[in-house]
Amino acid sequence: MTAQVQLSIQKLTKRYKTGEGVTGISLDIKQGELVTLLGPSGCGKTTVLRSVGGFLEPDSGDIQIAGKSVLHLPPEKRPTAMVFQSYNLWPHMTVYENLAFGLKIRKMRKEQIRDAVERALQLVRLPGAEQKRPTELSGGQQQRVAVARALLLEPAVLLLDEPFSALDAKLRNELREELREIQLSTKLTMMFVTHDQEEALSLSDRIIVMNRGNIEQSDSPQQIYDTPKSLFVANFIGRMNMLDGIAENGSIQIQNWELHASPDISGKVVVAVRPEDVRWKDASNPGLAATVKQVMVLGHYAEITLLTEAGIIRMFLPREEALVLSSGQSVSLTFAKHAVYPQSSV
């Protein structure tokens, strides 16, 4: 698939008076792609999104939509639509008026507006809500209307700033799936901001992980999860065991156990292992010596806490396999997969 680039951000820099902000952000989003900006609170996700929407003026860099720079355009002239972090329907208008407002401004005919609004409400599963007021809707319904309002503008790029973060977990899941369906059926280009890694992993075609105003990694969810490029990404996405070690001549010493590694790394390192990649054998086998501290069955899998000289390690096992283990048992650990990062990069 070689779709066109729909949104292109080039060397975007925006610094607030406080010195915080984003620096040198470059990214491309293809037509019909859903890209997530993921990062901890305050890393600059909203700053990037608002710059694209026209609500912030960047210090330098360029923003292009469908090949044309939009920097000189005010928000009302940009081919973008935004769903905001907080509910921001207009409380004095009915749902219908909220949805029709933008279309009226575009001088659309009345019947056309009515049809479009009806279709949009159908799409967000709120048919018949036209005459309700925003205050008569639940939080989830309000955000659905906000999404519908943005969809009605048929934007070249849809921007969503943590649209579901104020909702409870179950509703969040539901809306996420709905959004994905809408995206697949409308082929809209979307830029989605979240600090929830689960949301990003489940929703995105591509994830851009940000940290302190910079991009750390931009890859598919699979790649982000399997091969995090930096210690920060490894730490931020999913759960990780972090072990200190010393690398030398193609091997890493973790306490009294030696692990193979690529020869081009040396010095103090951090070895990162996902809980599901930890393997165990009887203590007589080679590996990292460990003692079982606790076995916790969590539904279909079990989480085992192990004590080693290098610190606590967590391991996920299918439930049946975990039944063999008991507290106080000595075992030997190996890793099916691991990543190594220099320690200074924390």
Binding site: E76, A81, S86, N88, L89, F101, I105, A150
Partner: protein, 297 residues
């Protein structure tokens, strides 16, 4: 409250006799005691005087029932021109206050400049200046030999226009006394409009004027109504400034009423005047409450 009602206790279902010291009884007694002062205040300061005035206004010099006082109010040329004058002044002052206060409030809400910051700090100062002092200040400023007249003398020999003891002076006084409060009300209404509501409108393509007419104005309309009510009532009932710097004829109703009462000793006419003012205020209050109820629904 009355010691006879018997309530079943929750866990056992057995009936309990509420004693004088039961919690509920003590609470509601306390509540009543706390409400009483304001109730008596309302009764003796507002309800009783209103009825006395109505009674007084319907009594002739011989003590019998008569409509004469009201007839005088609307037929006497001096009195009816005072009424017209008062209503005119009230309408013009209120509109000017609201327009200026609204513009000021919009400026304070949306400007981030230094001027806005300074106005924000200073605009409510007039509220802290006693009205007598402010009125004398006005005489000093705009009077025949006031600062403005003296400064004008440097440029022209024309006699200075009459502000004090004139309509213009009263208008200026009304602006001075009412703009700060109205601005405060409207500012708080405007600052409760979230930025995201405005940004949302920009996002769907609304320009500045559309945002103002379709979003900002409707969302602050209710507060505008509240402000209008307070301003109209305040202006109609104003006394200090009109008494000190108002013209002799026609007069503002408050001053006319005072004259009837303490200069001509016409208690009946003064009372009719008071009842008339109260009626106007009630009308304004009625529209205010009605529109509030409409909003609730």
């Amino acid at each position: 409250m009355n010691g006879q009602s018997v309530t079943p206790s929750l866990p056992t279902g057995k009936s309990l006799k509420p004693s004088m010291f039961s919690r509920g009884a003590r609470r509601s007694a306390l509540g009543l005691v706390m409400v009483l002062p304001s109730f008596f205040l309302l009764l003796f300061m507002i309800v009783v005087p209103i009825f006395t005035s109505i009674q007084e206004s319907l009594k002739g010099n011989d003590g019998n029932f008569t409509w004469d006082n009201y007839k005088y109010l609307f037929t006497d040329p001096a009195m009816s021109s005072s009424i017209k004058y008062t209503i005119h002044l009230t309408v013009v002052s209120s509109i000017m206050v609201l327009v200026i206060a609204y513009l000021l409030a919009v400026f304070l809400r949306f400007s981030t400049g230094r001027l806005a910051k300074w106005i924000e700090r200073l605009y409510y100062i007039p509220m802290f200046i006693p009205s007598v002092i402010a009125t004398y200040g006005m005489i000093n400023m705009y009077g025949n030999h006031g600062w403005l007249a003296r400064i004008m003398l440097l440029f022209t020999n024309e006699p200075f226009m009459r502000i004090i003891y004139d309509y213009k002076g009263l208008l200026l006084a009304n602006l001075w006394f009412n703009i700060p409060f109205a601005t405060m009300l409207l500012s708080s209404a405007l600052s409760s409009i979230p930025n995201s509501a405005i940004e949302g409108a920009k996002d769907v393509g609304a320009g500045k004027i559309q945002i103002f007419i379709r979003i900002i104005l409707p969302l602050s309309f209710k507060s505008m109504l509240v402000a209008a009510t307070f301003v109209v009532m305040g202006v109609i009932g104003s006394f200090t400034a009109p008494f000190l710097i108002g013209p002799n004829a026609p007069q503002v109703l408050g001053v006319a009423m005072q004259q009837q009462f303490s200069v001509y000793f016409e208690t009946g006419i003064a009372s009719a005047c008071a009842v008339f003012m109260f009626a106007i205020c009630s009308l304004v209050g009625y529209f205010y409450i009605r529109s509030m109820m409409k909003e609730e629904r």
